[in-house]
Amino acid sequence: MRIKALAIRIIHQFIKDKRTLALLFLAPLLVLSLMKLIFDGQTVSPAIGAVDIPPTLIEKMEQLHADITVFANASDAQSALGTGDLAAILQLDGGQPKLILEGSDPSVNKAVLLLLQNAFQNGAASTSPTISYLHGGPDMAAFDAFGPVLIGFFSFFFVFLLAGVSFLRERTSGTLERLLATPIRRSEIVSGYLAGFGIFTLLQASLIAWFSVDVLGLYMAGSIGYMLVINLLLSLTALTLGTLLSSFASSEFQIIQFIPLVIVPQVFFSGLFNLDAMNPWLQKLSLIMPLYYGADAMQGIMIRGEGWMDFHRDVYVLIGFSLLFAILNVLALKKHRRM
């Protein structure tokens, strides 16, 4: 009897909360569709630059689904490798085959090595190539490649939740109403939140950077200062996005519901997974995801040792996102006080 009453009460609550209901049924479909798009697209063909390679070997590699670009000289190929257009260069150096891997992504390295192994085994050349790496090296583990993305992701995730919940509590406890009955400007509220949380996100960013590099020994080719800047900007974006979205939630529970809608899709597009297999127009979705820019800059700094000129565009985009969310937040507060 009591069990029945309890079960019926829960059903009533679910039916009233349309958003939870929609989430329960639709979010798994969204996440599964994303996973299918990422893991089940076209076959990946590593982009290899060929310099002075005999046509028979090129043919062989193309049969094995390599995406071969023939370069007339080694320096053109080198610069294509530097910009990330190529995964590797295969060249003949005094009759001896030489392979230079871009090296940022261990899974791509593996794919290239496997492909070449097959090509050489089929008797196209007698000697196996000498291997060198532009970034990283043969010892670079999968975590070294994912690490920078994960650092960015966790800063983003925790700050998002924290900011969302605390701004929501300001609303549900009535303190926001009281705050808005004082002569404070709406923009001052948003700026104050940024400043107060900013201090903690700065501490968090420093701690994470130090711990992952000095304690966990993550591969680190660039400057820890740059890493800190990116991590901080990513946290600020999460902070402004979290407070903005909390305006559209009426309980802590509904903040949690933003995770599959806002956070999970960003993970898929952040660089943790190789998007080359995905439909190119779907890949463009990553352009609206803040985590994509943060992760791109983090990977650049930590693995490829990039300097300011290489990642400054990511910085501007992240600042742009933060500003956009902050301004929308000021506008969203109009719901509570129309001046």
Partner: protein
């Protein structure tokens, strides 16, 4: 458009509403309300839950905006950001930060009103004494009893010495002893010249007001002194008067 003078006039009423209406969607919450509350008056808004008291208060303070009609506070057209400095507001919820101490709560809201330094400290001590919380100022608010939270909330509203005090059901959920002490405090403030607007649905509290506005279904059905209201309706208690006016209003509609 009404031409309101730029500077608050000493003679202008504390609050002046002219033909106010407010709708939420299709639902009419307030309908054609005109009301002037002179300075220094202790004015009670009496009405059942859901009659539109809180909405009316939010319109007076400029937190919300009317769909029709004009609102003026101390002679200034509302809403205006700078006018938020002139009144103290206490909502139904206690609206305190549970993680902070009583003193930190007061200091925070004091800063919102631009109080600082020695003046802020003096005001904190003064309002704490008024609501009898001086010995509990350094305690975390989450450890306060319900009555202490209510008193602290009142102290926050008094902090910046407002000329106008707007209180939404200040004595809900409060024991009789504390209720009496809050009303004593309100009467004292009123004698000092502070205008007080208070909502309530407790009839015996209503009798303590200088003047009453009876509100029902979004309409102001009567405005007079408690005595005048009883005389008008030919009853001997506010409660009976309220019911009598409610029936009359119902027949008109």
């Amino acid at each position: 458009m009404h031409a309101f003078p730029n500077k608050p006039l000493a003679s202008a009423p504390a609050v002046e509403l002219k033909s106010i209406s407010r709708h939420f969607g299709n639902h009419t919450v307030l309908q054609d309300i005109t009301l002037a509350i002179p300075r220094g008056q202790l004015f009670g808004l009496l009405g059942p839950s859901g009659s539109g008291k809180t909405t009316l208060i939010k319109l007076m303070t400029g937190i919300d905006r009317a769909d029709k009609g004009t609102v003026a506070m101390l002679g200034e057209p509302m809403p205006q950001l700078k006018m938020l400095q002139t009144f103290g507001y206490m909502a139904q919820a206690d609206a305190l930060y549970a993680e902070l101490t009583g003193k930190q709560n007061l200091a925070f809201f004091g800063a919102m009103f631009g109080l600082k330094g020695a003046l802020l400290q003096a005001r904190i001590q003064s309002v704490a004494k008024l609501v009898d919380l001086t010995n509990h100022l350094n305690k975390q608010t989450s450890a306060y009893s319900g009555g202490m939270k209510r008193r602290l909330s009142l102290a926050v509203a008094l902090l910046h010495e407002p000329q106008l005090l707007v209180l939404d059901e200040p004595t809900v959920g409060i024991d009789p002893v504390l209720r009496q002490s809050i009303w004593k405090e309100l009467s004292a403030l009123s004698k000092q010249g502070v205008t007080i607007i208070v909502t309530t649905h407790v009839m015996d509290e209503a009798e303590k007001c200088d003047r009453l506005g009876l509100i029902r279904g979004g309409k102001l059905i009567a405005v007079d002194t408690p005595k005048g209201i009883m005389e008008q309706s030919g009853t001997t208690t506010i409660e009976e008067a309220f019911i009598a006016f409610g029936q009359a209003g119902g027949e008109e509609a």
